[in-house]
């Protein structure tokens, strides 16, 4: 993420405001539909603007996405916008009442797309997924993954859940980038548990202590959303294909193409979560 020296904050609505329509993930509903809240642009990528909202509980980050960006579960997709030029960190944002106001734009949320993870049929293809993910570059060691898998497999009560939580703790914030590799593995794993009917366990394991101090705001938000059962479009496409028993090659390729290595790390976590989740007896 290009972190430039903070420029003078530009208030929302300055430079005129072009009205645009946008489609938001359902995971953002509480934030978008509520009263006006202020936020600030914390990152600008070529295809996304990352906004942090202050003074609220989850979720606390909104990503404005161009047509080509991957579909994160805190995303707001803008119709017909191909570049995020003109925005910069520090710009002020106002969110609420189904609208987002930012320098130059007023976005009306006209559509919601579901980011909810739904239980799927007993998963197949986790090996294919894990193999494909392993082949892609990632920043989490095999031993860390083995520790996570083992802790999950033995997770039956509050004591063993603590063990699993420490395996997760070991991954949070691990690796460089906007969404560190360890975080992506954790988010993928939580999604895998949701998809196999373990929403309760995923919710408990996803409550990571001091999360905001240990990783980026975006990544923390994505872990919280994963724990609450929300995932990005590429993950949802893959889960739908698993449920349908359709060929997984294309959805896996699409997932692996997310971010730099984020897709591979998400896939790694997803394979672990689904495999462990499918063999656990306790089903919600």
């Amino acid at each position: 993420m290009p972190v430039t020296a903070p420029l003078r904050a530009r208030p929302a609505g300055r430079l005129g405001s072009t009205r645009l329509v946008a489609a938001a993930a359902t995971g953002l509903a509480p934030l978008l539909d509520g009263a006006d809240r202020s936020g600030v642009v914390i990152g600008v990528l070529s295809q996304a603007v990352i906004i942090q909202i202050s003074g609220v509980r989850d979720p606390r980050v909104i990503c404005l996405l161009s047509a080509a960006a991957s579909g994160v579960p805190n995303g707001v997709r803008l119709g017909g916008i191909r570049s995020m030029d003109g925005h910069r960190p520090g710009d002020e944002v106002v969110v609420g009442g189904g609208r987002i106001r930012i320098v130059g734009w007023e976005l009306a949320i006209v559509r919601r797309w579901s980011s909810a993870v739904r239980p799927i049929d007993p998963p197949t293809g986790t090996t294919e997924l894990a193999d494909a993910a392993a082949a892609a570059r990632r920043g989490v060691t095999a031993s860390q993954l083995a520790a996570l898998t083992e802790a999950l497999e033995h997770c039956v009560d509050s004591t063993t859940e603590d063990v699993a939580r420490s395996a997760i703790d070991a991954l949070v914030g691990l690796g460089p980038g906007l969404t560190p590799a360890g975080d992506d593995v954790v988010a993928g794993m939580l999604t895998g548990l949701h998809a196999t009917g373990h929403a309760g366990l995923a919710g408990r394991l996803g409550r990571v202590e001091r999360l905001d101090e240990r990783t980026t705001a975006l990544s923390a938000d994505l872990i919280r959303l994963a724990a609450a059962g929300h995932a990005g479009v590429e993950v949802l496409h893959l889960l739908a294909a698993v449920h349908t028993r359709a060929p997984l090659r294309r959805p896996i390729e699409r997932l692996l193409s997310v971010g730099h290595t984020s897709g591979a790390d998400l896939a790694t976590g997803l394979a672990i979560g689904m495999r462990v989740g499918a063999t656990r007896r306790e089903v919600r």
Partner: protein, 1010 residues
Amino acid sequence: MTEHISVRRGVYRDSVTLLRISQAAASVPGITAAQVAMATPLNSELAADLGFSSPDGAGPNDLMITIRGQDDGAVAAALAAVDAAMTAPAGSSSPGTSAAPRTVRAAAAAHPEAPITLLSVPGAAVLGEALDAVDAGRHVMIFSDNVPIEDELTLKIAAAAAGVLVLGPDCGTAIIGGVGLGFANVLHTPDAGPRVGVVAASGTGAQQLTCLLDEAGVAVSQVLGVGGRDLSERVGGRSAITALGMLDADPGTDHIVLISKPPHPATADRVRALAGTLRTPVTMVFIGADQPDITDSVEQLLAELGRPVPSWRCWQPADTARRGRGALRGLFSGGTLADEAMVVISADLGGIRSNIPLEPALTLPESVAGHALPSLAGLGHAIVDLGDDEFTVGRPHPMIDPTLRLELLAAQAADPDVAVVLLDLVLGHAADPDPAASMAPAISAAVDVAAAAGRELSVVVSLCGTADDPQDREAQAAALVAAGAWVFASNASAARAAASLTGTVPAQPSPTGAGRPAPGPAASAGPDLPSATPGPDTTMLTAPGPVICAGIDLLADALRSQAVEVVAVDYHPTVFGTADAAAVPAALRSVIADSRRGPANTLAAERMMAVRAQLIDVRPAHEALGLRPGEFCHAGPPIAFARASGPLRGALIGALIFEGLADDEAQAIAKLESGEGISLQPCHDRHAVGPMAGVISPSMWLFELTDPATGARSFCSLNEGLGKVLRYGAFSPEVIDRLRWMAEVLGPALGIAVRAAGPIDITAIIGQMVQMGDEGHNRNRAGTLMFLREILPALIGSGLPAADVAEVARFVAGNDHFFLNLVMPTGKLMGDAAAGIPGSTVVTAMCRNGTDFGIRVSGTDDEWFTGPALYPDGLFLPGFGPDDANPDIGDSAIAETMGIGGMVMATAPAIVRFVGGSVPDALAVTGRMYEITEAENSAFAVPILEFRGAPTAVDVTRVLRTGILPQINTGMAGRVAGTGQVGAGLVTPPMDCFTAAIQGLAARVPTARS
């Protein structure tokens, strides 16, 4: 009063755009009537109803402008408004962006991430565009109506093989992954609670069902419309079965509802059997006699889902005492809503006359149904579905354009028999943005007209919409109620209320419809079927991504307003001459539907591109072709001397003199006219080609090429250079002297050199020249120099006199077009390789004799399809002008047949000015050629297009679908025999060649199809 009537031939705009243009003209001050519409029979009749005389000879492909105003000034202003609205740029392509795709194939190729195509092109054009989508592996929603059922079946069979879903035809509504396509209500879809997926063979039925579910707080995951005919016996539920499988595979769908008019029993059994195998429970809702109405079915479903039944919304006028006595007239825009109303009402009132009657005996009289404005006077209770095909040819759907319905409403108000008018009003995306704005005053006026005549007229509206629809449902209802209407969210309740208001039934209006005996919706049951095979790609159900749109802009705009990325296809139909107006589209549809076409064209293109042309010899024609004295070959399709143009006549005269068969022009002409001892035939018939006049006589020397893989041969004369030359029709002594030198020195010398150098790979040289600025037709400079490089060592080592070698080298190097005569026989080998494949629509030869342009097509083998050769458009040599030019001539269009020449104009920027164009023009031309070709030949790559392969294998069906003709670069010959070259430019074949070819191809389509 001033009237204006005009017809613009072959100008096409979609019906919704025309509605906007009409409104622009009508809003000009002083204008009393304005209609801008395609001159369909219905629209011509509407114009006649407005008092305009029908313009002569106008047909459905012509634009008809009818305006009436107070004075000339007003009419002139209205015409100016029409012109301004017509010339407003369509689509959103801005400078610097590449041209919009003209077909769905091109759009799909450019956007692999777009899973759905939305078609609203005219019904007869649907098959080609929809098959493009299916062939590219995309789901396709067909909003268009008037699609022949044969086409529907062809498409659905192809879709099943490709693993994609066809929604429609006549699919008015779909909701996929939260995106509304076509007419779609804005549904509130909470993540919590059960989620119902809908498979709909009925558009407004699905809208009614989902609006009621939405009112009850139940989330609707998807609505997949399959078209009203899908569950017929003939179509067999093909799309419904695929759609059920997709919803079963959708983790976001917990319960499936199939809604349809009663299906054919055999189809119903098939669908039930499949439903029984699914993991997701399926409820069938059939609308018809002896079936529960939609509202009852929704209530039953809510009970199954454990959800409370809300009290369905109804809005009543302040004065509810009004009660006339008389007939009920329903004016509907939704077919299923009309159908349901008839079922409900006929239970109380008996038979209802209709254009979509419950039983044939109730059909509206022929004289009523065939008219633009049906008069219902004297028919008793009647319900008209104005959204039916007969009312929508060349007109927008009544949900978009209320005109027809409001006129009918006024007519009912004036009819003394009528006591009640029942209307439906459907809200949502793509529908009229403020329908009450026109409907409420019309209702008010109707009530007043009746009151003035001492009658009481009741108006009941069935309002199908949700709280989140863009029209603001509450405001719409309030406006209608204020105008005196009863408004019901439940269509069945509206129908019941309307029946009771006729004063002939005792029952009170029942706003909820509760309390009626309701047999439960048919639960899914049936024999076990093998469980569904892995279904089609369902990723669109999660998030649909960009949508490819071809047809009316309104539907694309409705998507954009939902923040959906639209890939717009710049579709417009091709206009054919009046003689072909009916036969050509029918032939085209039949050829497109031929299942042999796809594989046959693939094979034709593969064979074409597999050719590796090798130059193996240079020999005289009497040896190479077996030409005997008096036998002459010429360019183009067959022609008799009497019809020959100037250049061909000149070349034949010169050839007779060259062969010693005549001493001068007069003798030659006498011989040619008498025909004695002279025979003419196309070069093509002897696997040969010749540029311009293309005359080959026995003593001329020819290049001989072969494709080693097949052993096929092709031949071409040696190029004489530019200026006064035989091929341009010149026959002066210098021309004859040059031909003699070519036969005595050049030919033999090249023969020795070629045989010594060994086979020369001409295909390889062409591949290089195309990357060096030659397009291989009007520029051959790089090719010529590379060829000279290949043969020069062998030529020098040949032992021939040094003076001859020097002269040969000077001649070849001094003629930039020398290599054209090696490109051409390569093209001939490629065209011949693709010939004779049954079902293939690939063009294997294009050529002209100066009078006719002729093409050959693979599937019709050596049959010629001809039309008049056109005049090239370009630049003239000094001293010449357009009057000096002959129509297009020569076999050299074999270069375009093989995919180069004008087809790759983009690769030859150096000559764009020579043919009267610019570099951007050249890029656009080549870009356009990909729309009409089957394949891209990587052996001939165009660097400026990122080394994209040359557009190869012209497809007759795509030429006719797009109206884009192959672009040919050509030289221009003088009109008068003996003149020589006068210029160079661009030309196309006449469309007649392709309209003739499609009819020839259609005649060979096997009649028995699956």
